[in-house]
């Protein structure tokens, strides 16, 4: 099934999806997820729900796999020198991964 990714709205009204996390959320990769490097990023597989997600860029791989080691998404992004103008995209991507249970809030 295809999932349409919802752009993160910075206005207070979010009509198409409930955004679960913000840059201040503390998250981690789900313990039943395996991440396999690929030339363009990585493949993440959740053994319980059998969902398969491609992490399409090395930056998102680095961020997602180190979320557990930082107090917040923002801290993780900072630790990997992700430029602030890219943060909404990363938060949106992590939010999407939470919907697939690849990432969870801790």
């Amino acid at each position: 099934m295809w999932r349409v990714l919802i752009p993160l709205r910075t206005s207070s009204i979010s009509l198409r999806a409930v955004v679960i996390i913000t840059a201040d959320s503390a998250c981690e990769l789900h313990p039943h997820v395996a991440v396999r490097p690929e030339p363009f990023g990585a493949l993440a597989y959740h053994y319980d729900n059998r969902r398969l997600v491609f992490l399409r860029h090395p930056d998102v791989v680095k961020v997602v796999t180190s979320l557990a080691h930082h107090d917040s998404v923002a801290d993780t992004l900072r630790a990997h020198d992700i430029a602030e103008e890219r943060w909404p995209a990363f938060v949106s991507a992590i939010d999407s991964l939470i919907s697939s249970e690849i990432v969870r809030v801790r």
């Binding site: 349409v4 919802i6 993160l8 198409r16 399409r56 909404p88 995209a89 990363f90």
Partner: protein, 45 residues
């Protein structure tokens, strides 16, 4: 070839100043993660 149909209709009100940020965010968010069905590739039972 488009991998999937991207729904570009806007259903929420957007302020002018967040438009540019949001569309850049959505473009990059799409390029960052992509889900595929484990049954969604041809050539297996």
């Amino acid at each position: 070839m488009k991998l999937m149909e991207k729904d570009t209709t806007v259903t929420a009100e957007q302020t002018v100043e967040t438009d540019a940020v949001n569309s850049a965010a959505s473009v990059e968010a799409e390029l960052l993660v992509e889900e595929i069905s484990i049954d969604g590739m041809c050539g297996v039972y």
